[in-house]
Structure formats: structure tokens, C-alpha cells
Symmetry: C2
Subunit: 227 residues, 2 copies
């Protein structure tokens, strides 16, 4: 019987690739998504499509009130999503403590499942400058996980798997393509329409489109406007 | 102008004392409570009464779906709350990753407020055996907080204040009484009725009652049954 793992699944390109990698390593995947006041639900519907396409053991969507805290263009309607990348600064799409919150819930679910393996699609190369995508953050969370839990006290050693952390967007796309990911199911855009069609101009769209170009693969993204 | 702090406020005896301590240290207190599928709402109403009594700057209640994960007598109706303390084991009232989740949200709100100070009422003496109440866990979370956030990258140093961590229940009650806490407003019982009256027999009730006895102070707790 395969080992259970919790896979954080946003519905974007990166986490879909992570799910494919976790499955290829033989894990029984439990997909965890969050409804956290994102500006659109297209991402969550994409997460469900991706989870179903990969035949996960179980998928769970947890509502969390990150919008009550605000402080980000992704959770506060009063802050605009920029249409130009800002060099050298952490962008306004940074959501305070988001990956800490996500990993905390994943840890709780993993403990209930008797699992010690959590997969997250953070990336420190094309990572948009988010502090909670760095290897040092992930290592600190592993340390915390072993101290935070009954399982840890009893000797379990949690592992936060970050298979994308050192990959370029093009390398991620090539890896997922080899494992059969249909990127047409995924939504990366910060401002996707309700049908999941991308704006083509936000940071996330630019990074994604450049990745397909660099990988030499066709871009299956559905855009709102002809490009 | 006083410094802002986020104070985790459950509505119980410990967190009410922590709020009083934070205020006595001059912090402008922002009280954070969670609706996480607890078995009763009496605790949340108690949190509101305590926050109002202390004149906090702001109080926030965030809904989080810990009940979707289960794994605890406090979040899963299929697991009974024990009426006898179990020596030497972590009790079934342990909620997987609860304090990790709570502190993650507190960190996010603190960052939005421009605060680096978070108060939590964990206690390692009469602590019921929860792993996420130990000093090593708190230290690991501080390390994580500085790596997880934009504020940390920019040089802020977060501090998780645990003023109760080395106090006995009696010492906590004496400290709070000196600072004017009305413990009649608070609810500690795992099985309080909708009006906030305590069962008198669960672990939390026993620990609380013994604390008032040891402190030599009258117990203002409202019980369902005469004692």
C-alpha cells in the first residue's frame, strides 16, 4: 500500500506539476485547496479539475478568512493587481503569511491521515520575490512541524517536499509535460475571468507564457484577448 | 503612541489573562479569535465579552475550517471528550496543528498592522500535554516568522510573547486578578452549554477549579450543576 501524502493544490501550473511528481513517486495523494478570499473562483475550479484528472485519493477544500486580514492585492479589492513586474521588491500580490497558513493546515491534515509527507509547489528561481518560497523558510517549517505535533513528539519526521524549488518555469513545464499534465486545465492568472481565461498581462501570466516559450512547447493557456 | 500587538483570545481563563498582561505592558491590543468548529459557541461569545471589557483597539473573528480536518474531540463530534484526565498521554482534545494555524493567522494580521508582537496564552506547566504549548515550539515559530514575511526580510524581528508559559494555574489566576480580569466572563470548559455554563468534570474544568483553590481565590465559574 502506498504512503499517503498531502499535496497543496492551487489550480495553477506549479501545483499541478507537483501533484504529478508526487504521484509518480508512488504517493497516495490527498489534495488540499483553500478558499481564502481570492479574487476569483476560477483557480479553485481548476484545482478540482486537476485533482480529478490525476485520480487523487481525496480532495478537500478549506475555507479560511485570509480576506479578513487583507494586506494583499489578492485578498483586498482595494489594492490593484499591477500589470507591470516590479523589479527588486516584494510585489503587492504577496499575501502576508499565506504559505505559513497553508502549510499549517496541511500539517494538521497530514497528522490526521498518519502521513509525514507534504508537497508544495514553491519555487525560488522564478518566484516573484515571495519570502515564504525560500528554502530557509521551508527548512524552518520542517523544524516547526516536528515540534508542533503529537506525531512529532512520538518520533515522526515530517518532510516538506518542494520538487520545484530549484527549477526554472521552463523546466517545471517540461517535467509536468513528461508526466502527462494537461496545462490547459490550470489557471495561473491573478485576474482570470469566471471561465478561467487569463488576462495575459499580470506577473503570473507573463512568467507562465515565457516559460512555455523557453520550454519550446505550445502554450495551452486560454486568454481573454487574442495575443 | 503605543505599539500594536495581536493577542490570541479564545475566551478562556488563560488568554483573558494574557490580554490583561499585554495591555498592562502598554500595547494597543488587537484581539484575534477563531471560529474553527469548536463544539460550542459559548467560548467565542466569552472572547467578545472579554475583549470589550478590556477596551481592545479592534477584535477580529476568523472562520477556519479545522473541523474539515477533524482528528480531535474538540472538532469531531465522533470523538468523545473524556471526563477523566489521562496521565502521561497527549489527550484526544489535542487539535492537530492548532497553535501553528492560530499563530500563522496572527502573524499575517501582525504584518498587515505593522506589528511585530504576538501574544499567546500557552502554558508548559499545567498544559495538558499539548506539544504546541512548549517553549521549543514557540522558539521555532519565531524563527519561522522572520523567514516567512516581507517584514522579516526587511529586518523586522517578530516576538511571540508567552507570559504564562512558566506559571501554574494558580499563579495565572493571581496575576489576572491583580490586573482586574473578571474570570466570570471567561469559559474554559470543553463542553459548556450555550449559555457558557461549565460541565465541571472535563480536564479543562478540573484544572481551572484546582487553580482557584490553589490561589485561595473564589471560583466565579458558572457551573451547570451545583458542586
Amino acid at each position: 500500500m502506498s504512503q499517503p501524502a498531502v499535496v497543496l493544490l492551487s489550480g495553477g501550473l506549479d501545483s499541478a506539476t507537483v501533484l504529478a511528481i508526487a504521484r509518480s513517486q508512488g504517493y497516495a495523494c490527498h489534495a488540499l485547496s483553500f478558499d481564502y478570499g481570492q479574487r476569483h473562483g476560477a483557480e479553485l475550479r481548476a484545482a478540482e479539475r486537476v485533482a480529478d484528472a490525476f485520480g487523487v485519493v481525496e480532495r478537500k477544500r478549506i475555507h479560511i478568512g485570509l480576506d479578513a486580514i487583507g494586506g494583499s492585492a489578492l485578498t483586498d479589492a482595494a489594492i490593484a493587481v499591477p500589470d507591470q513586474p516590479q523589479e527588486g521588491v516584494i510585489p503587492v500580490t504577496y499575501v502576508p503569511a499565506r504559505n505559513t497558513v497553508f502549510l499549517a493546515f496541511a500539517l494538521g491534515w497530514a497528522e490526521v491521515l498518519g502521513s509525514t509527507d507534504i508537497f508544495i509547489g514553491v519555487n525560488a528561481v522564478d518566484y516573484s520575490g515571495y519570502p515564504d518560497c525560500r528554502p530557509a523558510f521551508i527548512q524552518a517549517f520542517e523544524t516547526l512541524a516536528n515540534l508542533a505535533t503529537k506525531a512529532g513528539v512520538e518520533g515522526a519526521r515530517f518532510r516538506i517536499h518542494t520538487p520545484l524549488i530549484d527549477l526554472s518555469k521552463a523546466e517545471i513545464i517540461r517535467a509536468g509535460t513528461r508526466l502527462g499534465v494537461d496545462y490547459g486545465l490550470t489557471v495561473s492568472c491573478y485576474s482570470a475571468d469566471p471561465d478561467g481565461r487569463a488576462c495575459g498581462v499580470c506577473d503570473a501570466c507573463r512568467l507562465r507564457a515565457a516559460g512555455f516559450t523557453a520550454a519550446g512547447l505550445p502554450d495551452p493557456t486560454r486568454y481573454r484577448h487574442a495575443r
